[in-house]
């Protein structure tokens, strides 16, 4: 079974990087530009995991996480946060809000792959 993953980041190049990285190991990857866009995509498709940036326009990563955790349909989807170096507060907040893990930008693509594979197993 192919695992379906949603990559959410407002940076076009980071979004593509995550997409190509996961596709190289056979995952199906859809992308969203911000939290709002991601919410809309989740209405249409089911995802096995979400890769989530924090600082985004319209609806940021933490707000998005709060929203899906309070919705029983999505409450258990594992979420991996993409955080920026030095922003300890964001890491703690996201873990408290129920993120499964976080990875600090800039990361090596294979580090992300390993993390995603771990979480899905």
């Amino acid at each position: 079974m192919k695992n379906k993953i949603l990559a959410v980041d407002d940076s076009f190049s980071v979004r593509k990087l995550v997409q190509f990285t996961l596709k190289s190991k056979g995952f199906q990857v859809k992308t969203a530009e911000d939290g709002q866009d991601a919410l809309e995509q989740m209405q249409e498709n089911e995802y096995d995991a979400i890769i989530l940036d924090i600082n985004m326009p319209r609806l940021d990563g933490l707000e998005f996480l709060k929203k899906i955790r309070s919705d029983s349909t999505f409450a258990s989807v594992p979420v991996i946060m993409l955080t920026t170096e030095g922003q300890e507060e964001d890491k703690n907040k996201s873990l408290k809000l129920g993120a499964a893990a976080y990875i600090v930008k800039p990361f090596k693509p294979t580090e992300l792959l390993r993390l995603v594979e771990d979480i899905l197993n």
């Binding site: 190049s13 190509f20 600082n55 326009p57 693509p109």
Partner: protein, 516 residues
Amino acid sequence: MPDEINPSCLKSESDSDLDKQLLQEMYRDFLKEAEELLDQLNLNLIQLEDDPADETILGDIFRNVHTLKGSAAFVELNDISKIAGLMEKKIREARQGAFTISSSVIEIFYQGLDVLILILEQSSGQSGEKLPDSTKSEESNVAIASIISKLDAIPDAMPDISVKMSDQQSDHDGMSADSRELLNIYKQSYDQLSVLKHIVYSSIHLTDPDSLATLFSKQIEQHMSVERNAVWLVSRRNKVVEIARNGKAVATEQRRILDVESSEVLQRVVNEQLVVWPSSVPGVNDVFPKYQSPTLFPIKGRKQAYGFLILDPEEAAEMEVYQFIGQFAAMMLKISKLHQKVDEQRAELDEMTAILFQQNTHLSSLYHVELELMTISDPIKLCRLVTDAIVNDLEASSAVAFLANADGNQVEKASQSGRLEEIGNLKLSVKNDDIFSQAFQTGRMITCQAEQHTLTLGSNNLQHWIIFPFKGRERIHGIMIVEAEDQDLGDPISILMNFSGMVLDNLNLKQKVSHI
């Protein structure tokens, strides 16, 4: 295991190879993104000049440099990441109220923008590949160090020159009338110079005519003593359109459009490229009734003006400055047109290069196949070689070759390569009006784009397919059914099929000769 599902994207490699490959692919995306981000940053800085405390603009700038910082770090453009990071930090401090954004702060951000552009330009080779850090010029190293220390120093040591000038004036109330007048003239010229410098600075990164027009109108509105102003640009069919008025862009549906030929005023300014004011052409007030003393400065082009500035100037003394702005606007518009052309051509060139590169790869792999084909004596073996080449060298998903019987009313499977289920010795009649018969009878290639339906071959259903004839000089020897998502494969496969057709001709001939 996800590994087994989609092995086609990347062959198995070590982690570091995979990382390297993925990050190289990211670099191109990063360049595109950085260019967009910097254009946006430039626009936001112009907006910020109007309203340095606007929370929305500050938020936009913050996210913009935050994104740039993050993605530059992936592709190891660490100077970009550092400068963007400093900008992010300063904007955060300003939003938290640590200092207010002055024109000097904005000026330093403009300088930062320039350095970011410089680094981007110097970090890529001709085909957009990332150059090693060692190729960085001394000049850019100095610029980077300088902007980092300037950004770091915000908000300390920030002399605001314009404030100082007015302070000076009040300090010197006791001086003679002559000196005061001299000082006034000096101050005025200083202001004018700083306006011009400002226009030059802020427009240098803009490449679309509408934004340029708006910027010019805004700068005139803010920094010059005119009651009202507008920027009009010539559009197609000899019409002029009011793009910006009193510092703001005019909404598309509200733009005034005039025919150049409809009035002498417009002909003078657009066709003859002359400055026009009420006493030079009396009709000006009728064309622009809202202006007291409408003065039109052409934005001079080669045969005809690109457009004109229209102002209600208080004093004639600033005429030269307005004319200069007109000339400068013309230069910027020319540059913007060139930019557009270069961008279009670059995109076209990229596309062509990619196609050429692919064709070249295909052709070089076909060369070996063709050499092998020349030595073959059995049609079935030939089919095997060709189906293998289509799948292995040209990377189609599957290929199935059929050869015709002597009567030419049936084709039979000769070989099969790729992912499809084995179809055995499937025979197809080619005397019907189905697609196989059509390809066989007409000798033409048929693609699924032309005939939108699924093709059934034994137990397989093909969505993306192309059918090629084995075309000889006098007869069609059979057909080849290829399954490929990439329909551009049509060309190289056709070459291979034509060559195979000729080889089959020769095999037939040899057979006949040996019978005799």
